[in-house]
Symmetry: C2
Subunit: 154 residues, 2 copies
């Protein structure tokens, strides 16, 4: 994976999960919240997503996903199904409407990605290496801190 992409990944994370992005996001997808789009995104790219899997992946509680999935169903964007051999777990899949939200989101995502790659090409290889190192070390720093924190809480 090249440097630009690595830095990009870090930035996308910051961007997607930061307030900045939450408030200045593309007005295209009103009626659907950012969380709902993320949820659709995950359902769209996962094999047999159930409440638990989605909640773990998205960093929300099962209760939260349970409610979000109900909203998405009532909006006609996803539907649920079950394995005949398993009456406990409930899986989700996208409806047509959900699929088009998924596609549109991917499109926006890719557009931002392309813009970013273009932007990043203004830097020399050396500069890119520096920036990458910077982000990698910052990332490690954060991880280290959170580890400390977890340790302290035990």
């Amino acid at each position: 994976m090249n440097q630009a992409l690595k830095i990009l990944d870090i930035f996308i994370k910051i961007q997607e999960y930061s307030d900045v992005f939450q408030h200045k996001r593309d007005g295209l997808l009103d009626e659907i919240s950012l969380t709902e789009v993320h949820c659709i995104d995950y359902i769209g790219m996962t094999d047999h997503p159930n409440v638990t899997k989605i909640s773990e992946q998205m960093g929300l509680t099962r209760a939260g996903i349970s409610k979000i999935s109900k909203r998405l169903i009532s909006k006609g964007l996803i539907e649920s199904y079950q394995d005949p051999d398993n009456k406990k777990e409930i899986y989700f899949r996208l409806t047509e409407g959900g699929q088009s939200v998924y596609d549109e989101h991917k499109k926006i995502h890719n557009k931002v990605r392309q813009e970013w790659l273009a932007f990043f090409e203004h830097y020399s290889d050396n500069e890119k290496a520096t920036i990458l190192r910077f982000f990698t070390e910052i990332n490690d720093l954060f991880d280290g801190k959170s580890a400390d924190k977890i340790e302290k809480e035990k």
Copy 2:
């Protein structure tokens, strides 16, 4: 202002307003939410802060600040006062308890700042210049986008 500090400022903003910081923050100040601490912070460093000023500064609604200030009063961290010549505006100041929260937050803030400056010293002057340029340009990019967005909404 030197490069390290400029980059630091940008990072502090990302850090303070990102989910990452919200969830991995120091467990020292439980019973008080991050928003409340920010509010205390602003009240602590402003002359005659009223609901409107605080809301504009913090990017929240007046309704929100109205409720937060009531919470902070009920927790004994701030108190309100009025100008005898103005029966409309309501100002706030920190109580002793509020002041110690303020001080503690500043202490943590400075500690993080110091750690960050130390971390940043691992980079050469050239590298620092590159990183700064990167952040500056990213910042401009974001600003530009938000301007587009505002325009589109009109």
